[in-house]
Symmetry: C2
Subunit: 273 residues, 2 copies
Amino acid sequence: MQQLQEDYESLRTSDTGHLRAAIRASRYTGHTAGLAPGQLQANIVILPEAYALDFMRFCQRNPKPCPLVGVSETGDPMMRTLGRDIDIRNDVPLYNVYRHGELHESGTDINHYWEDNFVAFALGCSFTFEDALARAGIPIWHIENNKTVPMYRSSIQTIPAGPFQGEMVVTMRAIDANRVNEAIEISRRYPMAHGAPVHVGDPSIIGLNDLSQPEWGDSPPPLEDKIPVFWACGVTPQNAIMGAKLPISITHTPGHMLITDIDEQAEVPVLAT
Amino acid sequence: MQQLQEDYESLRTSDTGHLRAAIRASRYTGHTAGLAPGQLQANIVILPEAYALDFMRFCQRNPKPCPLVGVSETGDPMMRTLGRDIDIRNDVPLYNVYRHGELHESGTDINHYWEDNFVAFALGCSFTFEDALARAGIPIWHIENNKTVPMYRSSIQTIPAGPFQGEMVVTMRAIDANRVNEAIEISRRYPMAHGAPVHVGDPSIIGLNDLSQPEWGDSPPPLEDKIPVFWACGVTPQNAIMGAKLPISITHTPGHMLITDIDEQAEVPVLAT
């Protein structure tokens, strides 16, 4: 039976419960940028428990690309500290399933993959500080043009933990020179969302020689008189997981985040009970 | 051979390397409040790896009492992200060793206890925000009178993880009514050091009926016209560990912290390399 689909525009004013219900029923499978404004959205990583301690160590040592905001019990698919009735097997619009570091399948639920030894992790995402930049009137090209932020594999190395390591993936936003300090200060206030930039200015210092060719996302226009500002990116842990070639791992599909009940302005990412 | 002791006053102007060398050699075994101003100090918890994932989940879910700032590799006593040459078996002035939740021994090193399956955790401590309050000219009774901050077992419940659970331990500082908002704002800037208070005002709301009888630390003077302000305390994880009755666990002795090479103002608790 074909299910009724809900479109992005009709969901823009929905609350988080309605949004997750639409996503759970696969009535919405699109990207989540701009949905549930003011609510924390999260990158998702799901791994067998045998790798969970090393992955938590990797996040603790690399908090800017990997700001850990939630962890499930082993085998429990409910993300209890992030919201009411969040089932991580169904409540992300689109998942990527990896086997031995290779993309095996993308799909709208992972019920048939779920195992009793799985642990699910939620990591903060850049939508949070982008909202704050927009509220401050700092224009961001990819948002104004309905594109995906350009992402690059930089030469900045993460601090390893067990099998997890590799280059830090960064996003780039071109900012007017007279707003750069403000953008730094604003984003620094959101440690759950990558915090302050990891680099400002000359891309070659972090190993990037051609900003017009991002590894993920859309090619940005020429910088002209703007300054390129680079933030740590939540694709970094996906990159580390692929490199670790785990027998199985599951992530959200980039841009298709978990929508939580946590206020973006909350001091800690734990649901008030 | 009796080793030359160093006294507190002579160490007040020492750098972190000199301080840790004195502590490693047991030439200093005292409390660390006021030493290495501006450097992050840390509560320490050491557990067998079998409990490490649950303990990390406990910290992630209770970030105000348990702000995780460092984790060792399993069996590796070096805390590599927190400083140069930090050996967690020797570099804390005084340790408590617990067996099955009971204090077994206190001592100045744990070399003979260390096992290949141990994992060491460092958690931020209140010295950081107390420094910031002092710089803002907000008087703190226990510092001005060279006492230990009063600590209480509140009725606020932590969020459990595996065997770890129990009441949140809180510290109390009496603040002039017209400085309370400022104290909240200042401490909120230090998420690595318990952040903003967990309660302001009437102690009975968090289950405390007699502030003159703290469970740990020194009895404070009567409040008079000051407001009692309560912060989450790093003794909370010790309380949870004792309750879990692990076969073995090791902590610092309260007040006797690890002195790290991390700047208190750093955005993330990771040594710049």
